[in-house]
């Protein structure tokens, strides 16, 4: 007991470091955070650019394209897939994929040097049915998943902690009210509830953030309530009450700091759940709207071409699986590290 308390956080950190699963999870999460932050620099292509000649190309396909500077007021550059090209002084002759030969003025091309207007990109994970690079879309999709994960879990954290604390600390009718309400929330299938909320609003990611946050707070509230119930019986809480400190101060300064461990675990697990929920919603078309590169939406676009271009769905699916796995492994490890009692009981 004493030894545990002595280095409670550092001992937990030590144990976390020795937990291989948790370290794998942490690496996956850190990798994802890195990818999300540096998406514009990491992505080989613009995730929105369509090269219609390169629809549904398999993984590793190497393209050969000329970049024309289109009307900048309407859209950026035009990409034209070619078989070969020749430059003659001011003009360029190229053969497109239908063996037609075209001639264009060199000024129509984007940029000055050949490296600016002639590109041979490698589509590492293939292309989708609009000829967009799947790898780039997955890299940008990480941003959406992370945003949903953190924002939705934070909303659920705030609601859950507030209601859980009220329920656990004040007990009586407040507790009954909040807990029966969470029972009702648990009674509904979560996805059905999510569909109901998102369908009621104009579909957008903002709606998804709040919908997932509102649906997932009950489990957080239960965790917090249970923890508050056990902490508030501690003698230091009784002492604080006898000292005449007000309730809010007892809650903020004395109860919450001693409830942190399970809250951190629930929050980490909640992120995985929120990412999953966003993917589900986007899959059925209620989440991110086209052309936003959301992983769930990408699986949805791919499902019609599963026979001819399975990579369209498989790679985003893999990205979701790895992300959720990462957060869950980390959450599991955190639980084992922060709450040694749980570990003894369940292992």
């Amino acid at each position: 007991m004493n030894h545990f308390l002595q280095n409670q956080w550092s001992a937990s950190l030590q144990q976390l470091k020795q937990d291989k699963g948790a370290m794998v999870g942490l690496s996956l999460v850190l990798l994802l955070l890195f990818i999300g932050f540096f998406a514009p620099w990491l992505a080989p292509m613009d995730p929105y650019v369509q090269i219609l000649e390169y629809q549904k190309k398999p993984a590793g396909f190497k393209g050969n394209i000329l970049v024309f500077s289109g009307n900048p007021n309407i859209q950026g550059d035009n990409f034209v897939a070619i078989q070969s090209f020749k430059t003659l002084e001011d003009s360029i002759h190229y053969v497109d994929l239908l063996d037609r030969t075209f001639t264009a003025h060199i000024h129509e091309l984007s940029g000055e040097n050949e490296t600016d207007w002639h590109k041979t990109p490698r589509f590492w994970l293939g292309t989708d049915n609009f000829g967009r690079d799947i790898l780039s879309r997955i890299i940008f999709g990480a941003r959406i998943s992370l945003k949903v994960g953190f924002i939705a879990s934070t909303i659920s954290l705030m609601l859950g902690v507030l209601l859980g604390v009220l329920s656990g600390y004040y007990g009586r009718w407040v507790d009954t009210l909040v807990m029966r309400f969470t029972d009702i929330m648990f009674g509904f299938p979560a996805l059905l509830f999510l569909i109901g909320i998102t369908a009621a609003f104009e579909p957008s990611l903002t709606v998804v953030f709040f919908a997932i946050g509102f649906v997932s707070w009950p489990s957080m509230a239960r965790v917090v309530r249970g923890q508050v119930l056990s902490v508030k019986k501690q003698e230091y809480i009784l002492a604080a009450r006898v000292l005449g400190l007000p309730d809010w101060r007892i809650i903020v300064r004395h109860i919450l700091p001693n409830c942190l461990a399970p809250i951190i675990v629930a929050y980490t697990m909640g992120i995985a759940g929120a990412i999953m929920a966003e993917a589900s919603l986007s899959f059925i078309g209620l989440g991110a709207q086209p052309p936003t590169p959301s992983w769930g939406a990408m699986i949805n676009y791919g499902k019609d071409f599963l026979r001819v271009a399975p990579w369209m769905s498989v790679y985003p699916g893999l990205a979701i699986a790895l992300t959720v796995l990462g957060f869950n492994l980390l959450g599991d490890g955190l639980r084992d590290a922060l709450d040694p009692k749980m570990k003894q009981e369940f292992r």
Binding site: L238, A239, R241, V242, L243, G244, L245, P257
Partner: protein, 316 residues
Amino acid sequence: MLLNVRDLKTYFPGRKQYLFSKPEQIKAIDGVTISIEEGETLGLVGESGSGKSTLGKAIVNLVTKTGGTVTFKDFTDEKRWSNSGKIQMIFQDPLASLNPRMTVGNAISEVLKYHRIVPKYKIMLRVKALFRMVELSPDLIFNYPHQFSGGQRQRIGIARALAVNPELIICDEVVSALDVSVQAQIINLLKRLQVDQGIAYLFISHDLAVVRQIAHRIAVLYCGRIVEIGRTDEIISSPMHPYTQALFSVASESNSGSMSMISTEVANPANPPDGCHFHPRCPIANNSGNFIEACASIDPDLNEKSGGRMVACHQI
């Protein structure tokens, strides 16, 4: 009169026998009347389960009272004093009574800040002064509770209670978790603080040897009721109630066996025996299975025997 507790009752809802039946009532405190003078120590003794701790907690409103009144310095309105911290409590487990995530200095300065006991710039000075008051080095205020020994933690608990300048401190088994040598130090500290600052104590303990060192008067609690109350020297030299006699015979080895209880089973406060709660265990009332009629049927009142000495027994 500093504290006046009149006919205090605290019942807890117990088990339900059937789904729709009323829960049985556990009468943890069943009509206790005590008073404490300024600067006095009242020792409260009894076996575990007798309601000692509940009585202390009921006085400071940590458990809800079912009935009765608590008057503090002529204020009958509890709200007037219950949040002022004029009655403080120190607990048995000195580690559990300190927030593990707060430095001990913060735990004390928080109280000073909230109650505005000293101006802001004097808070640190006051915290250090309180540490000195409980014979701890003021350099320790930035440490966390786990970095202290048991005796030091209990001193910190006392310092925190002293922060609000209390006039009464309820000491709930404060030395039970400590080594005997440390016990003596804490007892001496409490005595010295009483002399210096005129603080009164309600000293709750199951250990008579400790209580007799500090208490001016002793109240004996059995099954939620006071069975005997009187000056310490009188109670020690001539315990009158058979339960007090039994308690003392258990406590002092020299006297072992001469006056013992019939059974060691403590009365169940959810379903106490009729009449005197003690009669099934009482060596006087119980004559080889036949109980004295009055003891088994009539509740004895707490009657004054001689100058302040009160006993609740039909046979005395």
